[in-house]
């Protein structure tokens, strides 16, 4: 009896503190996520435009229109093409760099710095540098393409080359980040296992990799793959700065299309529908990420 009262007496302030501590976050969660997503869903069903006199309820017409819209369809195709290049490139090269750097003892931190540098640098500024580097007449890459007998290559204004070129810049920015994640994964593999493998006869580089490294790196690879997909899927900066979707829509991507519809043309209802389609795609990745994150965060 007396313990029950004591418990109630000590629990009450804890409950109050819990509510007080969670309240600001809950309020912001409400303002930044819940209300906007609700409003977004409602807008997507209307023809709301900024400054329009009246707004009509359209049902799913915006979605039908989006799926039939060649510009939007092209932006989906382009986004997936971009992801299809950046994902294997960013993950594969990140893993390769990590494998090579991991064994270096004296030069390891030097390479870590060099490869990580693009991650911290402001992409807008560096995109400008890349534009200059890749300039068909003024850039230094011209010397290489001429040397290889390819002549002048217009990386950013040739419709077939523009996406791969943007993807290359994306990979350049991402490799160091993935390398660091892979390095952490590699350090977590016990050395004993490599030694046991050496005694079992799996001491060669290929057997070591296939029997120990790759399987034990599984969770890391999974995590890196998901984060890279999300980052690539949200490509915006380089497109906005370097190509504005051009030439002739060859680098039109999802976020840029949404940005144009919503914030340049102010066709809010339609942009809301596009945003929801974007969300549907990204949810597939980010739900996986949240699940993987749950297992990962305790690493540090």
């Amino acid at each position: 009896m007396s313990t029950a009262i004591a418990l109630a007496a000590t629990r009450e302030p804890l409950l109050r503190a819990g509510h007080a501590f969670a309240a600001p976050a809950a309020l912001l969660l409400f303002l930044i996520y819940i209300v906007p997503v609700g409003v977004l869903a409602w807008l997507s069903l209307t023809d709301y435009e900024l400054g329009a006199v009246r707004t009509e309820f359209l049902g799913l017409a915006n979605f039908e229109r989006a799926l039939a819209d060649p510009v939007f369809r092209r932006s989906i195709v382009n986004t997936f093409a971009y992801v299809a290049i950046v994902l294997p490139g960013g993950v594969g090269l990140g893993l390769l760099a990590a494998l090579l750097v991991h064994r270096r003892i004296r030069t390891r931190s030097l390479y870590e710095v060099i490869y990580f540098l693009p991650v911290t640098s402001t992409l807008i500024a560096m995109a400008t540098v890349w534009q200059f580097l890749l300039h068909p007449r003024l850039g230094p890459v011209r010397e290489i393409t001429l040397g290889l007998g390819l002549g002048e290559v217009a990386f950013l204004s040739d419709p077939t080359l523009v996406l791969p070129s943007l993807a290359a810049i994306g990979i350049w920015q991402l490799v160091g980040f993935n390398m660091i994640l892979f390095l952490a994964g590699l350090s977590a593999i016990p050395r004993d296992l490599y030694e046991a493998a050496a005694l079992d006869g799996a001491g060669g580089p290929v057997d070591r990799f296939l029997r120990v490294t790759w399987p034990l790196l599984g969770p890391t690879t999974m995590f890196v793959t998901i984060t890279t997909s999300i980052t690539a899927f949200k490509v915006f900066d380089t497109v906005a700065v370097l190509t504005q979707g051009g030439p002739t829509g060859a680098s039109e991507v999802l976020l840029y299309a949404i940005y144009l519809e919503g914030f340049q043309y102010f066709r809010i209802g339609y942009a809301a529908a596009l945003t929801l389609i974007f969300l549907a795609f990204i949810l597939v990745f980010s739900v996986m990420q949240a699940a993987a994150l749950d297992r990962r965060v305790h690493y540090g």
Binding site: A196, D207, P215
Partner: protein, 387 residues
Amino acid sequence: MAAITLEGIVKSFGSTEVLRDISLAIGHGEFITLVGPSGCGKSTLLRIIAGLERQDRGSIAIGGRRVDALKPAERGVAMVFQSYALYPHMSVARNIANPLEMQRLTFAERLPLLRLLSPRRRRVMREIMRDVGTVAAALQIDHLLPRKPAQLSGGQRQRVALGRAMVRRPDAFLMDEPLSNLDARLRVHMRGELAELHRRLGATFVFVTHDQTEAMTMSDRVALMLDGRIEQLGTPAALYDTPDTLAVAQFIGSPPIAVLPVTAEGGLVVAAGTRLRLSALAGAAMLGLRAEALAPVRKGTPGALPAMLARSENLGAEWLLHATLGDAAATPVVCRLTAEAHATARADGLLGERLWLMPDASRAHLFDASGRRLVPEAQRAAVEAVA
């Protein structure tokens, strides 16, 4: 066949010399234990035999064949790791099969996808799994074959690690503290099993441990290592009864040996103010007394050491009396008595707060000032001369 011969092995990590000129001949089928405190170089020596580290100087022969240039897998040895080093993503069966897959399958047959092209692979894998089954049955882990290591207890993992080592039928087993991750009861049990396994397989066992009990209970011979050298090599009995140095005497034996400084005086040894009938020696030295080398006697018995009883431990069949001697340093000593001897001594009133402990001259160890053992013959002769 699988004798292991080490000659002049030297190894340094950076500027620290870990092994200083180790030579050791291990006989075929012998169970030898490398024992010593952590940092003495015992694990490094084992890893050099396995080929996981390379010695700076010296050479290794296994079964009469120089193996210095051979890779670990080519040396005909298997190793059991302290952590067991099981592949977490493979089933128990695949873990044990792994060395055989490496031996019997070609490189192409081990590659993903490409291996599907080999018609031979299925047949070889069936043979491998049969061998795995045999080994698993011998270790009584056949019911665990489909499981993953994470689903096993410590003792079961230990057996899987043994199975992975056994399946190759190696000439020698190298074991790096394989029992230290087990709980006390299981460790005692596995000691028995390992000794039995050694008898059955007839292979050479090189066993590394810091636990002197493991060294004493399982081995044919023990190499006690200190500071990168083999301090003494011999049977467990030899290390216990005739330690070459004070350090060996202190490492081997539980409870630890009591050591008291002594001086020589008129042909007799003076310890804790008492003249002892031990060998004559020049200058200061050390007297080592194990628990069974002391017995309580009546007050005033010539040669008895006065002591204060600190506490008594009843271990059932025997008692341990912990006491401090009446010398300036209050040297702690332990006296071991059988239950009957303890009862008699108590009845005789010998176990008061003050008691007198008589050293047994034949079991006492004398070391010179540098810690070297004084030759037993000389000691015995001296004891007789005084008597």
